[in-house]
Amino acid sequence: MAQMNMINALNSAMDIMLGRDPSVVVLGEDVGYFGGVFRCTEGLQRKYGSHRVLDTPIAEGGILAAAIGMSVNGLRPVAEIQFADYIYPAYDQIVSELARIRYRSAGEFSTPVTVRTPCGGGIRGGQTHSQSPEALFAHVAGLKVVMPSNPYDAKGLLIAAIEDDDPVIYFEPKRIYNGPFDGDPHKPAVPWSTHPKGEVPDGHYTVPIGQCEIVRAGSDLTIVTYGTMVHVSEAAARGLGLDAEIIDVRTMVPLDTDTICESVARTGRCVIVHEATRFAGFGAELSATVQEQCFWNLRAPILRVAGWDTPYPHAFEWEYFPGQARVASALKAVMEAA
C-alpha cells in the first residue's frame, strides 16, 4: 500500500501494464520526454523507451487512427488526449471506427485501445479546458466509458481498461488529480493522503468496468453521481445532515442499472448530479432509466443537478460549477416533496 494522488495512481497503472505486457504502448502529445502536461506519464519513456512511450504530432484524429491501426496489429495502445475539450478532432475515428470495427468485421478484428483524457472544470481553464463530454461517447454503441472519482479506482479502472479487449474512453476529472474537492474553492486544498481512497496498492489490481460503487449507504434518498461531483455531493448531503445513499457511477457504459435502481427502489428518492451541461446530458439517461424501473417506488420527482447549458465561462467559474448549494437545494426539494 502507498499514498497516491490520482496522477501517481494513473502513472502506476501504466507503469505496471507497460512492464507486464509488451504489447502495451503509450502515445500522445507531450507524453514522452516531458511526461505529459499533467505529469501522468512522467518517467515512463525513460523506463520503457521512446518506442513504447511515443510523443506524437498534435493531431488527435491521427493519434486515434494510429492507435487503432496499432491495436489491429496486436498492440494495446493507451492514447492520451491532452484535454477532453480537444477530443473532437478524433471523433470520427472514435465513433465510426474504434466503436464499430469488431461489429462490422463480425469479430475478425478488434481494437483494444484505451483513450485517457482529463475532463471537468474548477481549474480556471475557461471553455476549452473544462468540458465534460461523456454523454457524447455514452450514446455511441461499442464504446465503454468510465470516470473514476479517486486514486484507488483510477488505478484499478485504468488497468482494467488497458486489459479490456473493447475500446474504453477513460475520463479523468482533473480537478481532483491532487485531492478530493468538495466544491468550495475558498477552502484550503485537501491532499489525497487525507482520504481513504488515497491508499493504493503498489501492484496489479483491477476495479471491474461495469460496476457502480455505493460510496455511502443511506436511507433518505439516493444520489447518483460520478467524478468530482461525488465529493461535492457527499459534502452537500453531510451539510444537510441527510442520510443519503451515494452511488459513484464509475462506469457510464455498460451501466450498472441494477445497483442504481435497487437503491432508488429502497429510498424512493433520487437526485442525479454531474458537471456536464444538463440538456441531453448523461443525467438524462440516468433519470430516464431510474424512472422506468422505479416508477412505482418513487415518492418524489427525480431531479438533475448539472452544469448550465452554456460553454464553461472563465470569469464565472463558481457560478457555473454545480457546487454544494445547488446540490443541496435539489436534495431539499426531493426530501420535501410529499
Binding site: A65, G74, Q93, E97, R102, Y103, L255
Partner: protein, 427 residues
C-alpha cells in the same frame, strides 16, 4: 444583407461585383466531347528508376512524371520493366479478368433485387491485382470499397464474397455490412469502412506497430482521389513521415468522385503524388492501367518500406469506367463515351495485347479463359444463393445483431435481444 459582422460590407449587395472565386473546371459534361487534354503524360520507358535506397527528395520527379512500361506497341520498355515471366503475367491477366467478370455478374444481379447494392472496379483492375501480386502474403492491406482484386489475388473464394453481398447465412459479416464491405483477417485484408479514408492513417498505425515489433511486414492502403480531401489523408501522410512508417499509401485517381471531377480534390493545380515530397516522403505517379508499371512501382515502394527507407505515396492514374455504384447514373454528369477516349486504355486489354505480342497469349485462349471464368462465377453464384438471399431462402438469426458490439454482451443488450425475440415470437 443579414448576418454581416466584421465591419460594413463593401457593397450593400454582395453580388454587385462579379465573383472572383476560382471554380475548378470539369473538362466535359454530358453532350460535350470528352476532353483529356488536362492529363500530363510521359512516354513509356522515359522516366528514370532511382535506386530504392535513394533519399526521398531525390525522387521528386517521380511525383510529376508518369511511370509507364507498356508502350503504344504493347512492348514493355524502360528502366521500370519488371521482367516478370510470362506465366506470372498470365496469372495477372486471369486475376484481372476474374475480377471483371465477377463485377459484371454482380452488377447485373443487383438489378434483380437479390443484392441491395454493388460497386464495380471496372477499368481499375490493375491497381489492385498488380499491387497484390507484388506484395507478400503477410503484408497487411487496408482497402477502399473498390479493391476487390485484392481478394481475388489472395484467393478468397468468390462464394464467400457472394455470400457477403447476399447478407445470407454464410455472410462473413454476419449480416451487418453493406455489400462489398468485406474483411478477411486470415488473408490480412482489413475491414472496409463506409466512412471514406479512415483506413489510410490506420494503415500507418499498423505499419508503426510492425516497426515497433521489428517485423518485416508492411502495410498498404488505398483510397480514391476524392477521398484524399479528408483529414485522414493528412494524418496518414504526417504520421508516415514523422515515424518513417513502412507503408505504401495509394491514391487511386480515377478522375471522378461520384459526380465530382478530380479538380475539386486538388488535382487541377498539382498531381496527388506531389503531396508526398511536400511531406518529405517519396511520391510516384504511375499509369494505373499499366499492369507492369503498377507492379514495378509497388516492388520499388515495398523494398523501400521493408529496408527502412520509409513510406511511399503512389498516385495511380486510372479511370472509373463504370458508374460509381448501382445507385449512380454517370450519364447525368459526364459524356457517355468518356471511357472509349481515355488515353491510358484498358488494363485488361493492354496486358492481353502485351502477352500476345510476346507470343504467350491469343484471342482464342482469351475467349476460352473468359468463358471458363464466367462459368466459375455462375457456379459460385448458384451455390451462394442456396445459402439465402436478401429476399428469400434461409436467413441469419437476427440475434446476431446484438453480438460483437462488445466482446461480451452487456446486460442492456441482452435485455434488448430478449425484447426483440419476444417481438418476433408474437408474429
Amino acid at each position: 444583407m443579414r448576418g454581416f459582422k466584421p465591419g460594413p460590407p463593401r457593397s450593400e449587395d454582395p453580388m454587385a461585383n462579379p465573383s472572383r472565386l476560382h471554380v475548378p473546371k470539369t473538362p466535359a459534361r454530358p453532350g460535350e466531347a470528352p476532353d483529356f487534354g488536362y492529363l500530363k503524360l510521359s512516354a513509356a520507358g522515359k522516366v528514370a528508376r532511382p535506386d530504392t535506397g535513394a533519399p526521398a527528395l531525390e525522387t521528386r520527379f517521380l511525383s510529376e512524371e508518369l511511370v509507364r512500361v507498356l508502350d503504344e506497341g504493347h512492348r514493355a520498355v524502360g528502366p521500370w520493366h519488371p521482367h516478370l515471366d510470362a506465366q506470372e503475367l498470365q496469372v495477372g491477366l486471369r486475376h484481372m479478368l476474374l475480377t471483371r467478370v465477377f463485377d459484371d455478374r454482380m452488377q447485373r444481379i443487383q438489378r434483380s433485387g437479390k443484392i441491395s447494392f454493388y460497386m464495380r472496379s471496372l477499368g481499375e483492375e490493375a491497381v489492385s491485382v498488380a499491387m497484390a501480386m507484388a506484395l507478400r502474403p503477410a503484408d497487411m492491406l487496408f482497402p477502399s470499397y473498390r479493391n476487390q482484386g485484392l481478394y481475388v489475388v489472395r484467393g478468397r473464394p468468390l462464394l464467400d464474397l457472394m455470400c457477403q453481398l447476399l447478407s445470407n447465412t454464410r455472410d462473413m459479416c454476419k449480416g451487418r455490412q453493406l455489400p462489398v464491405m468485406y474483411q478477411w483477417a486470415e488473408g490480412r485484408i482489413f475491414s472496409i469502412s463506409g466512412n471514406l479514408a479512415t483506413q489510410f492513417p490506420q494503415a500507418v498505425g499498423w505499419a508503426m506497430a510492425s516497426a515497433i515489433k521489428g517485423e518485416d511486414d508492411i502495410a498498404v492502403s488505398w483510397l480514391g482521389e476524392g477521398s484524399s480531401a479528408e483529414a485522414d489523408f493528412h494524418h496518414a501522410m504526417l504520421f508516415a513521415s514523422v515515424y518513417k512508417a513502412p507503408v505504401i499509401l495509394n491514391v487511386v485517381n480515377n478522375q471522378w468522385a461520384i459526380s465530382t471531377f478530380q479538380g475539386h480534390a486538388g488535382g487541377e493545380r498539382q498531381s496527388f503524388a506531389a503531396r508526398g515530397p511536400g511531406f518529405g516522403i517519396a511520391g510516384v505517379r504511375v499509369d494505373g492501367n499499366d499492369f507492369l508499371a503498377v507492379h514495378a512501382v509497388t516492388q520499388w515502394a515495398a523494398e523501400r518500406a521493408r529496408t527502412g527507407r520509409g513510406p511511399t505515396l503512389i498516385e495511380h492514374v486510372t479511370y472509373r469506367a463504370a458508374a460509381h455504384s448501382t445507385s449512380d447514373d454517370p450519364a447525368r454528369y459526364r459524356p457517355k463515351d468518356d471511357y472509349d477516349r481515355w488515353p491510358l486504355g484498358d488494363p485488361v486489354e493492354r496486358l492481353k495485347q502485351h502477352l500476345i505480342s510476346l507470343g504467350e497469349w491469343s484471342d482464342e485462349r482469351h475467349a476460352a479463359l473468359v468463358a471458363e471464368l464466367e462459368a466459375h462465377v455462375a457456379k459460385s453464384w448458384k451455390e451462394a444463393v442456396t445459402h439465402g438471399t436478401l429476399t428469400d431462402g434461409p436467413r441469419l438469426d437476427p440475434g446476431l445483431m446484438f453480438e460483437d458490439v462488445f466482446k461480451e454482451m452487456p446486460p442492456h443488450l441482452r435485455r434488448q435481444e430478449a425484447e426483440m425475440r419476444a417481438g418476433l415470437a408474437e408474429k
